[in-house]
């Protein structure tokens, strides 16, 4: 369990999450991809705290912040999904094309 290993795992999670975020049509799956990316980021932050900061408590604040961000993103995201569905009956990303020129 070296920092390198943790970071590699975090990178893998991030990559999978990026894949998912880019390729999924459904809003919910898209959100899941985003969640995975944040997951990776969380892991990386915790890893950095654990191996480079000698346990300074401020290091954990980043992880806490990431968690907060995850929560906010999830909430707002789903609220938006609901609103969008109410307006346009859209449940896939490709239904929203009004920005098209």
């Amino acid at each position: 369990m070296t920092l390198t290993a943790i970071l590699v795992v975090a990178a893998a999670l991030f990559g999978i999450g990026l894949f998912g975020a880019l390729s999924q049509k459904s809003f919910v799956m898209l959100m899941m991809g985003l969640e995975l990316m944040l997951n990776g980021t969380l892991l990386a932050a915790v890893g950095f705290w654990a191996f480079t900061l000698e346990g300074a408590p401020k290091g954990q604040l980043l992880a806490i912040l990431v968690m907060a961000v995850m929560a906010v993103e999830l909430v707002i995201g789903f609220a938006l999904v609901v609103a969008v569905y109410r307006k346009r009956q859209a449940d896939v990303v490709e239904s929203l094309g009004t920005l098209k020129q």
């Binding site: 898209l30 990303v93 920005l99």
Partner: protein, 638 residues
């Protein structure tokens, strides 16, 4: 008074008359008489009072003129004969160019006087050259016929060749004595004396028409008969004999001089005599006789009796001139000089009589002055050697033969085919000149009288040779034989010398041909070779430069045409091509670039619009791509 007047008066007068143009015969005749009469008077005065003159030309050159006894006599004779002949010329010669003829004859008289009165070699040379120039001008008088100018040139070149001797003598004398005086000649020694003596002999022989220079006298017969009478009988040719007589005391000091002079004179006399017997042309017969008589004078000089030579000179002049003038009349009467066609005795009886008076002198008959002087020559030759005297007698016999032949053929009785010709009788002015000369000849008959002869000799300041009666009678016998022979020839061979071997031999026994082959042709070839060398060798340089320059300029012109102009042409072609290309391609490019860019930009813009899909996942992908790029840039920068 200065003696220079004697030559100068006729000289200037003659030039004036020559440039005045053709006037009437009477006017010119009067002028001639006046001028030459004045000259004669001057000569008499100068002789009587012993004038002399000098001219200081520079520090080293001093011209002088003086009268010696011989020169006095000749100086008087020249204008006297010239007067009669010039008057005859103004009356007889054709009017075209008569002014020039008269003037030149008078100029010639002045030049001859200069030769006679000269007291140093330089003055002599000046006069010598002048008489040569006058001879050329007068022989070529009728210059419209090209043959006359050729003859004049022939005569001039041949006598000029002889004058080289005189030039050499002048230079040698100056080198030896530092001046040109005659007196210095006697003081010469060794090679210079030899050069002076033989140089003067050479020029005298050429001037006098001696062998081998004789052919020029024949060519000189192309001139008018007055010219032949004055120049080529009485005076110019006599200048040769005169100068030898004048300088004989000094010249005879040179070794072999006398013998050489006698040899030349005898050869000429004998050859001239033979040719005179064979000749059919009236004037040429007389010319041959002139050479022969001058040969006699040379013999006299060589034998040591210059006075005899001078006397013979004077006498010869007085009988030869009227012979030439009458031959001229006869020739203009029948239109040619062929003796076998003449026989004008009954057509022109007076002229025939006057000519007869001269002919007997030429023949050397005893009662004439010519006969007397010829006998003196025999006596002089006898002093040199009996065989020489015998040769002179033979020469005298030959001269009697041809003189008889001349008189009988030219003025004899006409035969069947001649008598009924239309012949113009000469007018009395024409006859007058001959008459004067005939009177002079007659006057010289007095020389047969001893007191007259002695007085003449005393005047001349020389001795007369003493001869033997044997020689005298032998000489008369030869003369008689000659006369008989002449009569015989006329009776039986009247056309002797017209055709055949005689005609060929009569042209100086082939001497002209020999001269042509031996001298003229080699000199011509030499001149041609020199000209060729000059043209091809010496001029090769400048011609080469010129050719090179021309080739260079041609080359440069060609190069200019080909290279420079080609360059210009190519530039023009290139410019044309460029214009055409620019027109097609350049327009396309220069229009295409903005238009293409615009179109490209439009296409890009059109395609970029497609990016705006309106889909958030697309935008998301673009964002990821952008993040990658930024990270890459940052990583590269790190």
């Amino acid at each position: 008074m200065t003696l220079w007047l004697l030559p100068l008066l006729p000289f200037i007068a003659g030039i004036t008359i020559a440039t005045m143009g053709d006037r009437s015969r009477a006017w010119l005749g009067t002028l001639a008489i006046v001028v030459l009469g004045a000259t004669l008077t001057l000569a008499l005065l100068a002789a009587a009072q012993g004038w002399s003159a000098t001219l200081i030309w520079s520090d080293t050159i001093r011209l002088s003129a003086e009268f010696m006894p011989i020169s006095a006599a000749v100086a008087v004779m020249v204008p006297a004969v010239a007067l009669a002949v010039t008057f005859h010329a103004t009356q007889h010669e054709e009017t075209r160019g008569l002014g020039r003829l008269t003037g030149l004859l008078i100029v010639f008289t002045g030049a001859m006087e200069l030769v006679v009165v000269a007291n140093d070699l330089l003055t002599l040379l000046i006069g010598w050259e002048l008489i040569g120039a006058c001879s050329w001008a007068l022989i070529s008088h009728k210059w419209r016929e090209i043959e006359n100018t050729h003859s004049g040139l022939y005569a001039f070149v041949m006598t000029r060749f002889g004058e080289l001797g005189l030039f050499a003598a002048v230079m040698a004398l100056f080198a030896a004595t530092g001046s040109f005086d005659y007196a210095g000649i006697a003081t010469l020694q060794g090679p210079l004396q030899w050069i002076v003596a033989y140089g003067i002999l050479l020029s005298a022989a050429s001037k006098a028409g001696q062998v081998p220079f004789a052919p020029w006298l024949f060519r000189a017969m192309a001139g008018p008969s007055s010219v032949s009478a004055l120049l080529h009988a009485a005076t110019l040719v006599a200048a040769g004999a005169y100068i030898l007589a004048r300088l004989q005391p000094s010249l005879t000091l040179a070794p072999g001089f006398g013998a050489t002079t006698i040899a030349i004179g005898l050869a000429t006399a004998l050859a001239g005599g033979v040719i005179g017997v064979l000749q059919n042309h009236a004037k040429r017969l007389l010319a041959a006789s002139t050479s022969a008589q001058l040969g006699f004078m040379f013999v006299a000089v060589g034998a040591g009796y210059p006075g005899v030579a001078a006397l013979h000179l004077i006498v010869h002049a007085t009988f030869k001139a009227p012979l030439f003038l009458s031959a001229g009349l006869a020739g203009s009467a029948i239109g040619s000089y062929r003796l076998d066609q003449m026989r004008l005795g009954q057509a022109m009886p007076f002229i025939a009589g006057l000519a007869a008076l001269a002919t007997v002198g030429l023949a050397g008959l005893p009662v004439t002055g010519g006969g007397w002087s010829k006998e003196e020559v025999v006596k002089a030759a006898e002093h040199a050697g009996f065989w020489l005297a015998l040769a002179v007698m033979i020469g005298g016999g030959l001269s009697a033969a041809y003189a008889t032949r001349f008189q009988l053929l030219a003025f004899g009785r006409c035969d069947e085919d001649n008598c009924d010709r239309e012949v113009s009788v000469p007018s009395w002015p024409e006859t007058l000149g001959i008459a004067i000369l005939a009177v002079m000849t007659l006057a010289l008959t007095m020389l047969w009288f001893s007191p007259v002869a002695d007085a003449a000799a005393a005047t001349l300041g020389s001795l007369l040779p003493k001869g033997t009666a044997l020689a005298f009678s032998l000489s008369l016998a030869f003369v008689a034989t000659g006369v008989a022979g002449g009569v015989y020839l006329v009776r039986h061979y009247p056309a002797l010398g017209a055709t055949g071997a005689a005609a060929a031999a009569s042209d100086w026994l082939g001497l002209p041909t020999l001269i042509t082959v031996a001298v003229v042709r080699p000199v011509d070839a030499l001149a041609r070779a020199a000209a060729w060398a000059d043209d091809h060798v010496i001029d090769a340089g400048p011609r080469g430069v010129a050719v090179l320059g021309r080739r260079g300029s041609t080359f440069i012109a060609a190069a200019d045409n080909q290279v420079v102009d080609q360059g210009i042409r190519w530039t023009a072609v290139f410019g044309d091509w460029l214009a055409r290309v620019s027109d097609r391609f350049g327009e396309a490019v220069s229009d295409g670039i903005p238009e293409g860019t615009a179109r490209l930009t439009g296409m890009i813009g059109h395609d970029l619009r497609r990016l705006q899909t309106g889909f958030s996942h697309r935008y998301y992908a673009y964002i990821i791509g952008g993040v990658f790029v930024v990270v890459a840039i940052l990583a590269a920068g790190a």
